[in-house]
Amino acid sequence: MASKPVTRIPGRAFRPRPGHQTYTARRARVGYLFVLPAVIMLALVSVYPLLYNAWLSLHHDVLTDPLATHFSGLANYHLLLTDSEFWGDFLRTLIFTVISVAIELVLGMVLALVVSRKFRARSLVRASILIPWAIPTAVSAMLWKMFFDQRTGFVDFFLGLLHLPGSHEVWFNSPFWAWLPIILSDMWKNTPFVALLLLAGLQGIPHELYESARIDGANAWQIFWRVTVPLMKPTILVALIFRTLSALLIFDTIFVMTGGGPGISTEVVSYYNWYQFMTSLNFGYGAAISVGITIIAMALAFLYVRLMRQGGGFQV
């Protein structure tokens, strides 16, 4: 903008009088004014809690023992590094993230490709795939929990009808199978979101590229891998960032479906963090876990952004 002081008020912008701000400077000032509310808001709801949380993490602060609160330096972080429950949860969270994000990305891409085609009632289909995404996570988790109920769920019913194994499985009592409803519910809810993002990227690809590829004799598969995917890379990375970070922080689904059980086999880092805050009332240690999770999330976001800079952009 600054490089293009276009002539809305001809003549004035180029001849600043002494004592008067230039047109660009005034424009910039207005810009800052407009940004100000957002900055204040972010500072209040994001920066302040983050700093307060970091400060809290340096204290021994257990609410049931308010008189014992004191500055404890890095003691909480020392505990965090040696806490095998946290690192076990971290590993589980990571595995969940990789699996669920991979599935959602592939399915989201398929969905995006389908709805980008022209067919009757396309807008209806586009709107309706968004429905799962618009349902609150806790509700969709409850829904899937009921689907997998051993007596009343439809999963059990259909497996029984088809004489398939698993029809009397108590899904939530198995350390392995308890993950299935969790992943399915996460997938059901988030795939539409990925599809929507990818659809936007898909529509940004100039039509001429497809045309010339076809003229050069490329088949559909080749077009997908050589034209669509490379051009979609920035969009894919954006979708990946969003999904990876929110999968890493998964809480509601686990809280509603399994409470981390059976045992602790579906316990994830956010759940453990919640436990330290809300059950142990150990705000110092809870804060340290939060900081740990924030650092991990930031490192991942940073990695993605680097990837995007290196391979992103439309220069093929």
Partner: protein, 422 residues
């Protein structure tokens, strides 16, 4: 000119934002001394909510200047606890009066979130003393019992002649019925990973002579008696006396199994009794309620539950809040509540002749109250319970043996207690 207009617009929007933010901070100013609104946090739904509403109406009639707003929290104890902790940590002045699960006051009192109460105001000698004790922390009274609850054993009087006194008798009775009716569950119990699994476990553990903390407050979770108790429960599932599904059951599912006539025995709370005797119930006139079994060297144990009333330390209206607590815990209000919702009064003098006549099951329930055993009264109880919940869940899902799981819970409880001793 356009620019000037824009900067005004920007300033305006900033001002608007600040206005919104400052509105968030300021609290609704106390509206004079004449009219006062108390917020009363509560967990019950259905008939329990109706009973609360009736009581509140009676109170408002008596005190025309006090309005009471009922705030209904989640029916799941763990969730309700969480939302209260959120209120308290923010220093909120509401809710003013809170219905608390009997296991919470110790933690609330330790955190200085609730007000100490003066015992002389509440005729405590008329209450069940075990419950009064559960409301004391370090010798100070913080909570007034509202209704008592014990987890006992429901049984089908048409299928079992006398309630089993020992664990092996229970298994034998269940097996005998299951032989004739193979689709029936022997014992329906709460096995999900939550607080209710711990109260069932405490019933059985006490029956085998075990406890969670000893008299000195040291954890004894992996005692031989507790290992036996957990092995017994686990074997119920393994041997088909209880369905594997109990590993996900809470009170609601146990209730469903028993009321539909599909279970010989069920562990549950007194609220189930009036439902079982209601019109249209499949088990009407076929229900008995008994203390849980015990072995010779054990102690008959019915976990004490129930709700107590506490007052927020930051309340703006401590006097009015106390009035409400006094009214709600009066003998008359408790009898009224028992009639509407089936919640058993926490006062012995509320069991009037007319109450027993209208709801005869209270006579049977009263016999179980004398075996009521509270869970450990310590602010650390929620954490110790979480460790036990994990252990139970690991055993029921076949991830660990009862001994290994309880050893681990013992280690956790030890570190929870020693970490807090700073």
């Amino acid at each position: 000119m356009l620019l000037r207009q824009r900067s005004w617009a920007a300033l305006g929007s900033a001002a608007l934002l600040m206005g919104v933010l400052s509105a968030c901070g300021s609290s609704p100013s106390a509206s004079g001394s004449s009219n006062v609104t108390l917020v009363f946090a509560n967990q019950g739904l259905g008939t329990e909510l109706k009973a609360t509403q009736t009581a509140v109406k009676g109170f408002e009639k008596l005190h025309p200047h006090i309005k009471v707003k009922i705030e209904t929290l989640s029916a799941n104890s763990n969730d309700a606890y969480q939302s209260l902790v959120t209120d308290f940590t923010s220093g909120s002045s509401t809710p003013d009066v809170i219905t608390a699960d009997v296991i919470w006051p110790a933690a609330f009192a330790a955190a200085h979130w609730i007000q100490p109460l003066s015992a002389s105001q509440y005729h405590l000698n008329h209450f069940f003393q075990g419950m009064v004790k559960a409301g004391e922390y370090k010798g100070t009274l913080y909570a007034i019992p509202w209704f008592i609850n014990v987890e006992g054993l429901y049984y089908r009087t048409d299928l079992v002649k006398t309630p089993p006194k020992t664990f092996s008798a229970l298994v034998a009775d269940a097996k005998a019925v299951q032989k004739k009716h193979p689709k029936m569950y022997g014992l329906a119990f709460e096995g999900d990973k939550y607080e209710g699994a711990v109260t069932v476990f405490q019933d059985v553990s006490g029956g085998f002579g075990g406890e969670f903390l000893n008299a000195q407050g040291k954890p004894v979770i992996n005692s031989r008696a507790n290992i036996k108790a957990l092995t017994w429960l686990d074997n119920l599932i393994k041997k088909g006396i209880s369905p594997t599904a109990v590993t996900g059951w809470e009170e609601g599912q146990v209730q469903q199994a028993f009321l539909s006539g599909n279970a010989v025995f069920a562990t549950n709370w007194p609220y189930l009794y009036p439902l079982a005797e209601a019109q249209g119930s499949a088990v009407k006139n076929k229900v008995g309620f008994a203390p849980p079994p015990a072995i010779a060297s054990g102690k008959v144990t019915a976990s004490l539950g129930g709700d107590v009333l506490v007052i927020n330390k930051n309340t703006k209206y401590p006097k009015q809040a106390e009035e409400l607590v006094k009214y709600l815990t009066s003998s008359k209000t408790m009898t009224q509540r028992a009639l509407i919702s089936g919640d058993p009064p926490a006062r012995t003098d509320a069991y009037t002749k007319s109450l027993i006549a209208q709801a005869p099951w209270f006579a049977q329930e009263e016999k179980v109250y004398k075996y009521a055993v509270p869970r450990p009264v310590t602010p650390l109880y929620p954490q110790i319970s979480a460790a036990i919940q994990t252990a139970l869940s690991e055993v029921y899902s076949g991830q660990a043996s009862p001994k290994a799981a309880l050893d681990q819970a013992q280690q956790k409880a030890k570190s929870i207690i020693s970490n807090n001793g700073q």
